[in-house]
Every structure is written in C-alpha cells, then in structure tokens.
Symmetry: C2
Subunit: 118 residues, 2 copies
C-alpha cells in the first residue's frame, strides 16, 4: 500500500533540515547550491531532501538542468493544517485549565500576603 497523502506530508516534515529548507523557500525560490550554503551540507545531501519534499508536493522545481530553482508549494501544508485544526479545542482547553490553575495560584498567594499584613 502506498502511503496516503497526509502521511507523506507529515513524514516529509519530520526532519529539521527539510523544515529549514521550506523556511528558506518561503523567502523566495533557490537553487540546490543556494540551499546547501547556509546548512553547510553537500549538494547530494540537499538534493536528497529536495527529492523527499518534491515527492510530498511541498516544493516544485524548475526544468532548467543547471539552475533548477525550487519553490514552495503550500497545498499539502493546508491539508495538514486542516487535519490538526480538528484538535484545536483540546489544546485550547488545556491552556484554559492552565490559566485557571495560575489564577487560583495567584489568588492564594495574594490571600497569604493579605493575611501577613493583618
């Protein structure tokens, strides 16, 4: 079974160098050489990462053999965001609970202070 689209996207994002490459491409298209420089990586190592990103549809590459600039393609990121979005209420709930806890802690602290002043 070939992996589903969303799995391919998440798998491609599960690497800090590939995420850094996407962050660089968010600033504009770049050649393999331009991408290799800041990462101090070999061209073949960068090419390998680009192949993973291209297969996941996260980048598209130009046709010119020498230059072949890569550019960001955000479609799969939208699908990933849509999937994660379903869980938003869960992390917002946890933040609410943390907020409640911190407020209760602060109230207790202030009560203690008032107690000492009396």
């Amino acid at each position: 079974m070939s992996p589903d689209r969303l799995s391919t996207t998440f798998s491609a994002l599960a690497d800090p160098t590939r995420r850094a490459i996407l962050a660089r491409l968010a600033l504009g298209e770049a050649s393999v050489g331009e991408l290799a420089e800041p990462f101090e990586m070999s061209l073949p190592a960068v090419s390998k990462h680009l192949k993973v990103l291209e297969r996941a549809g996260l980048i598209a590459r130009g046709r010119e053999a020498q230059w072949r600039p890569s550019r960001l393609e955000a479609g799969p990121l939208k699908d990933a965001a849509d999937w994660i979005e379903h869980y938003r209420r869960f992390w917002e709930q946890s933040l609410d609970r943390l907020g409640d806890y911190l407020r209760a802690l602060k109230a207790k602290e202030e009560e203690k202070k008032r107690g000492r002043k009396k």
Copy 2:
C-alpha cells in the same frame, strides 16, 4: 542526535492508523482493547502505535496495569499547528490565484454566450 520535538510529532502523525487512534481518543479515553476493535488489529500492533504516540507526548496512559486507558494530549499538536501556520499566506495566495483564474474563466464563458445570442 535525538530527534527534535517537532520532528517526533510529525513522525508520529505520519501514519493513518495513529491518526485514526487520535481521532478515536478525541471522543474520550479508551483501553487498548477498545482501540483494537474498530481497526481489527491485534493488541500488540495497537500497543506499538500507542508507544509511538506516547513517546511523542500525543497521548498519556493511565497507571492501572489492566485497563491503562489512553487519552489525547494536544500540546504537541498545538506546536505543529503553530509551525504550519507560518505558511498560511502561501496556500491562501494559491487559493486567491485559483479564484482569480475561475472568475476570469467564467467571465470569458459569459462573454461567449452573449456573443452567440447576438
């Protein structure tokens, strides 16, 4: 080097069964047996997926040896959503461009119809 947190999260999400387990846990906590049933999977296979999710901090498991219910922990999903969010303008731009294209297509089509009626 141990993988960074975000890579561990994306890696755990890069599997349709693990995403389905999270979707099930969004409805409430469940034991390994309850999780195995709808997926027609063996308990060890489900346990293996739960271990990956637990290591990624996406679920927490109860202490009771027999029952050990799993529950969703959404913190890492928030971090993943925050990361993807930086790219929102890129997919919104593409949707805008698609919208422009469709509007232009429709205008052309209507112009053609008017031409035929004359």
